[in-house]
């Protein structure tokens, strides 16, 4: 590896890149558009889930205590509305929620306090909306938790197993907090992958690899120059995205030096992977297909747009097999949770190992000449 040749190739590639308005748009402007678009859509849905509550138990002490306990959970905020059904029928409340565009509701039935005091069973109705899976899940969990506490107290039981909560950060996370590292990961994936797939096939078609093979530049030096360029581009793009996410949408993401390895290893891996995808393809058209086949599952299943923890178990298993998952999870640990423990180290080691394998694979697979 000759640093002078790497530097020369880096500079020419960088000049060629920045003079191409389309490339610049997709690497610098498009990620900001994504942040802006998703930020505007989801910035209103942050904070505790509002649970509209119809208290049919005539504002009894027990029902008020129950709602107060829910309110202190921080997960939900109770908003008591006047009874809309006039009795135990709950269908009208569901319609009322729907007509107001609300997704989560709770009905405390008439006789709730009496049942509690006499030890009879009673049922709370929690309204959920499949379109707001996360809000519904949070409300259901909070109501179940408080109900279990009440059951235990009524039975004069002593809790055997208790849980104490420790926030992974210093605050409750909003969707935009997860979205910023997710979209940085999206950029780390797409920008080098698509570019390298295109470069590897078009340089071969235009005989540019052939030209370069007749100079002292080696394949390793050439690939290293591309990796360095995409690392630089990733850092610039990520800083812009963090700035927009924080300043425009109040994302709670803190830039730490520990995120830097992922800004380096992420592009390192995807430049090499893009080169492999482009090298195994026979034509530019098939290269694009292979690139898409590799890229699209990672784009949606690695925690880019939604946290992987919210996926069904089988999709979580698939996510854990995708390299981008480790980049995004590592970034989450570094800039969101500030957790540099085993998960962070594991993410780092996985992506480092993948980088080595992909770099060597790319060097072996892509051909300067008729080998």
């Amino acid at each position: 590896m000759n640093p002078k040749r790497i530097s020369a190739d880096f500079q020419v590639f960088a000049k060629n890149y920045v003079r191409n308005p389309v490339a610049l748009f997709f690497s610098l402007i498009f990620p900001l558009i994504l942040i802006g678009m998703f930020g505007f859509i989801f910035s209103g849905s942050s904070g505790p889930v509002t649970v509209y509550t119809e208290n049919l138990d005539h504002n009894s002490n027990v029902s008020r205590a129950f709602l107060s306990a829910l309110n202190t959970s921080n997960a939900v905020r109770i908003s008591v509305v006047p009874p809309v059904t006039g009795g135990n029928g709950t269908a009208a409340f569901g319609s009322w929620l729907a007509s107001n565009g609300d997704t989560v509701g709770l009905v405390i039935p008439d006789g709730f306090a009496r049942a509690y005091q006499t030890g009879n069973s009673t049922t709370l109705t929690v309204y959920t909306d499949p379109q707001d899976a996360s809000g519904s899940g949070i409300a259901l969990g909070a109501v179940s938790g408080v109900a279990n506490g009440f059951n235990l107290q009524a039975a004069h039981g002593r809790p055997i197993v208790t849980a104490t909560t420790a926030n992974v950060g210093s605050q409750v996370f909003k969707y935009i907090d997860y979205l910023v590292p997710g979209l940085i990961g999206f950029t780390i994936l797409t920008s080098p992958m698509f570019a390298m797939v295109d470069i590897s096939s078009s340089y071969r078609k235009d005989h540019i690899f052939r030209e370069l093979s007749l100079t002292p530049l080696t394949k390793g030096e050439w690939l290293t120059a591309k990796i360095l360029w995409y690392i630089l581009l990733t850092i610039v793009t990520a800083l812009l995205m963090l700035a927009v996410g924080t300043l425009a949408f109040g994302a709670h993401v803190g830039l730490t030096v520990e995120v830097l390895p992922f800004f380096i290893l992420g592009p390192f891996f995807f430049v090499s992977l893009g080169m492999i995808a482009g090298s195994v393809a026979k034509t530019p058209e098939s290269a694009a297909v292979i690139g898409n086949v590799v890229t699209f599952p990672m784009m949606f299943l690695s925690g880019t747009f939604f946290p992987v923890s919210g996926f069904p178990p089988f999709l979580q298993t698939i996510a854990h097999a995708l390299p981008l998952y480790y980049v995004i999870d590592g970034m989450n640990q570094a800039i969101l949770f500030h957790n540099y423990g085993a998960t962070f180290v594991a993410d780092l080691l996985v992506i480092l190992a993948l980088c080595i394998v992909a770099f060597v694979g790319a060097i072996l697979l892509f051909k300067w000449r008729d080998e």
Binding site: K4, R5, A8, Q11, N16, R19, N20, R210
Partner: protein, 310 residues
Amino acid sequence: MGDAVRVQGLTKSYGELNAVGGIDFSVPPGRVFAFLGPNGAGKTTTVEILEGLRKRTKGEVEVLGLDPWTQGRALHHRIGVIPQEFRFFDKITPAESVQYYARLFEKPADVEALLARVELSDKANARFDTLSGGQKQKLGLALALVNDPEVCFLDEPTTGLDPHARRAIWEVIRMLKADHRTVFLTTHYLEEAQLLADQVAIIHQGRIIASGPPDAIIRQYGRRERLVVQGSSALAEKLRASLDLPVRAQDGRIEIAFREKADIFRVLDAIEKSGLPWSGFATQSDTLEDVFVSLVGKMDEGVLKPAGVA
């Protein structure tokens, strides 16, 4: 000093297909060597083997005493290559391209002088995607010269260029020759080869069918020098009757092949004595293109065997 290029028994096969079928030739240093042949004859395959871009199947190949395949990296410091259709980075200018190559070769380059040498100074700061075909080819030539090569491989460097651009590239080839560089030229333009080359080899169907200096090939394979006059078939008949020289007539054009200069006067005398009208008296000899067409045609008909083949 040994040959700049030495090829012995070179064979390149793709499965059952023999693209190059056991060819021999050598190029002394400081010469312009033209490698000629119709499309698909095996020219580019041979050149790519010499450049170290393609692995040979059999035979021995040396360029500047090095094996192009196994010693390619050392060889590439000493050769320059311009491909058939030179393509480069779209948004990079010729001046930047030359600087880039100079940094790769770790050789100081006088960018202005190099671009002036290939008549590209006025486009030094124009981006590659705005250059014409000829200008792109000139840039390819400039880049091939950055490392001050001892041998230059020019693979159809003037194909598709306008006459002015072609002449500019010829001029560079002449300068290289004057500078005692070896030039290995493949071209479709036979007059280009005849004009520039010290030595030519004609390859067809993967075999060399003729080689040597252009004049020698023309003498060996070409037809005799001829007198050409415009006249009727009656005049042709009278000349056949009065001369012991071969006379051919077609479409009002009469060709008389002569053996020696004195024959010209005999022909003129016979024409005058015929009393028939004539015009456009001229002498004519075969060009390299005539010989090439004739040789390739004869080989296709099976009349001619490759050089060195019994």
